[in-house]
Amino acid sequence: MYQYDQYDQAMVDARVEEFRGQVARRMAGEITEDQFKPLRLKNGLYLQLHAYMLRVAIPYGTLNGRQMRMLGDIADKYDRGYGHFTTRQNIQYNWIKLEDAPQILADLATVEMHAIQTSGNCIRNISSDHFAGAAADEVVDPRPYAELLRQWSSFHPEFDYLPRKFKIAVIASDTDRAAMRLHDIGIQIVKNDAGEIGARFYVGGGMGRTPMIAPVIREFVPALQMVSYAEACLRVYNRYGRRDNKYKARIKILVHEIGADEYRRQVEEEFAHILTLGLEPPQAEFERIAAFFADPGLESGLADGYDRSDPDFAVWADQNTTPHKQAGYRAVVISLKPAGGIPGDATADQIRLMADLAEVYSLDELRVTHTQNIVLPHVKQSDLYALWQKLDAAGLATANLDLIGDIIACPGLDYCSLANARSIPLAQKISARFAEPERQRALGELKLKISGCINACGHHHAGNIGILGVDRKGTENYQLLLGGSEAADTSLAQIVGPGFSEDGIVDAIETVTNVYLAQRAEGERFLDTYRRLGMAPFKEAIYG
């Protein structure tokens, strides 16, 4: 894992003290809320429905045990004993006091963490593949490239006041586990025919009010020119992105309006200019960063295979662990989606337990997934059973990865001041309706995603089944969407028809799954059947 150098630590520590002074001045009445609001947002502190909410950055979703334990301690000491892992691989605390916020940031700084650039019209936390460094199918570990971009984008003065917020994802395999093409910039690290490592740039994707899949803007940028190319992409956006209309200010609108070809032409022109300035990082600096992500201590010579005599364990191992690049290991996904539970929430005790388990069983590494689960990326197969027993005792062994119970849900109207409808109660009702494990497994891969408003933090556009909460004359109403995907075969879900009440949408989803079960061909996932049949049979079954 990357470790702060003296400059990183000094920068974060200075920012904490600066914010401590800003909070003191606000509390003393020396600055108004209008003056203070942009300052607190710069430090990830929002004012939500019930209290202040703090969003803490987890760069590319990677944590060590010490950092994870601190997240649990903060939940206990300053919040109400739990935290919420988000679809941007971050964590949010819902009950923060303004007067505590500077000390929380100081505590975070002791474990090389912060909340900088988790809000505002700047480049947000860089997200990545949650199996990075463990995936058998990756070209290289994408995290050194994500870290390079993190360092470039942190406090970048030119991009501190963009037309709108800006999200970047970096992956390094053909299997997209980061919804890469639904980001402002999606970068896929690839190897060209000459065996050289470089970056393929997708620009102009996103969800929200106007969902778009990012087109390829450049097939291959040499690895060390990646930062310069990103700079060119941002510079064109910063120059021409619409600041007159918040709803048309994201880069996807610019790319769509001028067209990918014209956007590409302008970026290439800017890129050619930037290359003359010699801004590329030296090879030695990249190698310094990459060294932090080198082999975490994987043992060689281990055999694949483990004792599967406990049937409950075998079911979990089949569903929630995935192949590892190193023989004898598996990557483990800890589901934060128990039946009837709140997606992404974990108690302080659960967070600390996962920290302990990472130290004992996963070479001191954890990942937060954009699907609101936690990954232990490097677990010896011989340790899987002992790990499962400890997870099971803590309510963390739900075997539902990528099944209908593995629901993404935004905080919705229960917590969020932007929401129009509640998301979490729906997730709870749906996961309870489909709680029977055999029923979930019979349905197979089925990704269900719920957003409480058009901002789409719950990724409903990318759900095989998506749900969007709307406000219909002061009453919650839910639209049903089908056919979305955030994987390599990215597609946008389409609205089926008129909306439903809370109970009505749960029934409608059951109807949809019944159509799938009745009409699927051998080996088809829900998404495959939908793509083959189209919307019609599902719509007919729901509305008659």
């Binding site: 509390m27 809320e33 429905l49």
Partner: protein
């Protein structure tokens, strides 16, 4: 009726104007009539409340106050999915009041 709400500056708690100060309980809220802007300006300036605004509400025959919009009812009670954190955690039917 027209009532006032906001968040306590330091704690962030949801608060309601009770005629003298700010209460954490919506049932203490009073009708401010046409005085909303005047009260809010004074209270914001004195840093006794943050992000304040006026909303419509209905007073029941039993004297309870119910904001007209669901968002403010959720603010008044707490997250419907965490009744243990709500202001009336002992009332198993408090969620019904929100809906």
């Amino acid at each position: 009726m027209k009532i006032l709400t906001g968040n306590d500056l330091g704690s962030g708690h949801v608060v309601w104007w009770d005629g003298q100060g700010w209460s954490r309980h919506v049932h203490d809220a009073v009708d401010v009539g046409d005085a909303a802007d005047t009260i809010l300006a004074a209270e914001e300036a004195a840093r006794r409340v943050n992000a304040s605004y006026a909303i419509s509400a209905t007073k029941g025959a039993d004297g309870t106050v119910r904001p007209d919009h669901i968002k403010d009812r959720i603010r008044a009670l707490g997250p419907t999915v965490r009744p243990d954190l709500a202001l009336q955690p002992s009332d198993p039917h408090s969620g019904n009041w929100v809906i």
